[in-house]
């Protein structure tokens, strides 16, 4: 950190016990105001480095109102916050090499309240990209990048096994390579393809799609990570590499709509892929299913007190707050309780913007994981089920349920799992 230039040299404070100015006696402590007020300039080198980047400009707009700090999920468990970033960079901290750089989950709650539109969703990837190019990248994140480049998924799983989950899905899951065209292309994404709890949700969704008679297909082994979180974590090259591949693959097939399980894929396909020539009608599965609920025959009563965690990339980033709630409320017996932080002001599970692959790093900077904080909030409102609809969240919250000692009190379920449970007798 640069030397602190802001402390006032006591020798420069002159308090004159007796002063007579223009014939008036102005003796007293307050006469220090007659001293030249010390005004100092900041060396703006570090700030300029950020604002010179494409996407980094808005950091310079900050006028330190501080509205962003109380809504920042990381600040709540650590010493962080967008305002603080601006201030520390202004004081000469090199953001490119600072641990501050990797703590933002790009949840977007700061941008929601910022009167100056300081946009961390642009600033973070821009600065991180430079840091990645310079080799300042936390090791666990580097591993996720390498896995993605080598295998097309951050988990480092075999790309040949991307559709392996379909084998015991219990219902047909057509592959586009054979089917060639479908009404709906289901872009499954990595965690729903490989993570055991993600697979649970994928199987559930496959069952519901079959039940509804939806004409759908998946890309199977041809699908690659959309890399939205890798992009936000600074690996824009990786994003571009796989965006090109995915767009090329999807060009081969005919479909009207893309259905996604993962809000991060929703964000990428909807907002980023058009920049690379891939324009699609993309919809999250909750949005897709909400208007079709009456076609599902719910026979089992779920006497659960359920609370819902809005995924940052479904809610704040893509404006969908209602569909998940409509589905939950349609399930017989479910009592939906809201947490204090919900909808636009929802908390963050900590997995976004690369946080999914920075748990070890974050442990050194926060008093508890964001997911742990959120699980405690769910328990506090008396929920028995924490319902989610983003594949990052199930494993993160389940770990947090264990580590906060709430096993037996709270279970974490994907909404689609609850839907299938309510259809149990069919």
């Amino acid at each position: 950190m640069a030397s602190n230039k802001h402390s006032i040299d006591p020798d420069q404070i002159i308090e004159k016990e007796h002063v007579v100015q223009e014939g008036m006696d102005i003796s007293g402590h307050w006469n220090r105001m007659f001293e030249q007020r010390v005004i100092w300039d900041y060396n703006t080198e570090m700030l300029d480095k950020v604002t010179a980047l494409e996407g980094g400009e808005s950091l310079g707009y900050c006028y330190q109102c501080g509205q962003c700090v109380p809504v920042c999920p990381v600040n709540l468990v650590g010493d962080y916050g967008p305002r603080k970033i601006f201030r520390r960079v202004q004081w000469g901290e090199d953001l490119f090499q600072s641990p501050l750089l990797w703590q933002c989950t790009t949840c977007m709650n700061c941008l929601r309240v910022c009167p100056k539109e300081v946009d961390m969703i642009q600033i973070m990837p821009a600065v991180r990209q430079e840091a990645v190019l310079e080799g300042y990248v936390p090791e666990e994140l580097q591993q996720a990048f390498e896995n993605t480049f080598d295998y097309g998924n951050p988990l480092g799983e075999s790309p040949k096994k991307r559709a392996a989950w379909t084998k015991d899905a219990g219902v047909p899951v057509p592959i586009m390579k054979e089917k060639k065209q479908a009404e709906v292309l289901w872009f499954v994404e990595c965690y729903p393809s490989y993570h055991p709890r993600g697979i649970d949700a994928s199987k559930a969704l496959a069952r519901v799609l079959n039940e509804l008679g939806v004409d759908f297909g998946i890309l199977g082994v041809e699908e690659k990570c959309t890399c939205d979180s890798q992009r936000l974590a600074g690996e824009i090259g990786l994003f571009e590499e796989f965006a090109e591949q995915n767009i090329k693959t999807m060009k081969r097939y005919k479909f009207k709509k893309i259905l996604v399980t993962d809000p991060h894929a929703l964000n990428a396909l909807r907002k980023e892929y058009p920049k690379y020539g891939g324009k699609y009608d993309v919809v999250h599965y909750t949005t897709f299913l909400a208007p079709m609920l009456e076609k599902l025959n719910f026979t089992k009563k779920l006497d659960y007190k359920v609370t819902f965690h809005d995924p940052c990339y479904l809610g704040r980033h893509n404006g969908e707050f209602e569909a998940p709630r409509q589905i939950l409320q349609a399930l017989p017996g479910v009592e939906l309780i809201e947490m204090f932080r919900c909808r636009e002001n929802s908390y963050c599970c900590g997995g976004g913007g690369g946080g999914m692959w920075l748990d070890g790093f974050m442990a050194d900077h926060v008093s508890e994981r964001l997911s742990e904080r959120r699980v405690r909030e769910a328990v506090e409102v008396g929920a028995e089920v924490l319902a989610v609809c983003c594949p990052y969240e199930v494993s993160r919250f389940e770990d947090a349920v264990k580590s906060t000692g709430n096993e037996g009190k709270l279970v974490v379920r994907d909404i689609i799992e609850l839907v299938v449970e309510a259809m149990a007798a069919n």
Partner: protein, 255 residues
Amino acid sequence: MNIIVPVKQVPDLVEELEINDDGTDLDRDYLSYKLNEFDEHALEEALLLKEEHGGTVTVIAFEGDDTDKVLYTAIAKGADRAVKITNDLPPGTPNHVLAKALASVLSGMEYDLILTGVQAADDRDGQLGVLLANYLDVPHVSVVSGVAPSNGAVTVQKEYAGGVMAEFEVDLPAVFGVQAARQTPRYAPVSRVRQVMRQAEIEEVEANDTEANIGSSIRRMFKPEKGAGAEMLEGSPEEIAEKIIKILQEKGIKK
């Protein structure tokens, strides 16, 4: 210091390996390949030496699956030259042959140091680096974890079991089998790899000697017997504890 790093693609162990119908080789139709992880360390150590002491790093690979990606990635990390040996040496070619081919290519090049990965997952007939050094008749040390130049020679540390290390001074040129670089192999940002793919060139050479006496042939490949899995112990914690103690007693671990 001019450093050459020969690298090798090995079957990716993330994938399930299948054996071909003859039972004498892997079923290579469905294999994917990955750069030998120890070669990544050799490259990292070479790049660190270059950054500290100047010189060049040349990466050499045998033509095959994804070789270009490996070479471009090496350039993106900071290597100066990438060379591809174009002889038809399919994956699984014995190291004696690869070492001979490398030796014939390297004999026409200037170098001070050759860093190889200490071993690879398919080194059936010995480690590439030691074979190469002996074909070239230059000194070698394997299982090296630190390389530092000193007065026209280099000092290296060789790891033994139990954490003991030996320090050697070695005249140049020399071949070292690198166990681990001083730091985790660096990341090659994909945007840089993509840029390199557009701009950099891979040199192609043909080795004029690929004849080596291997003196052995594969009779059979098979998967090691997989354990039947664990026998699960059930009951209350106390009951389980008692069962465990009984097992320990039966095995003579606890009286």
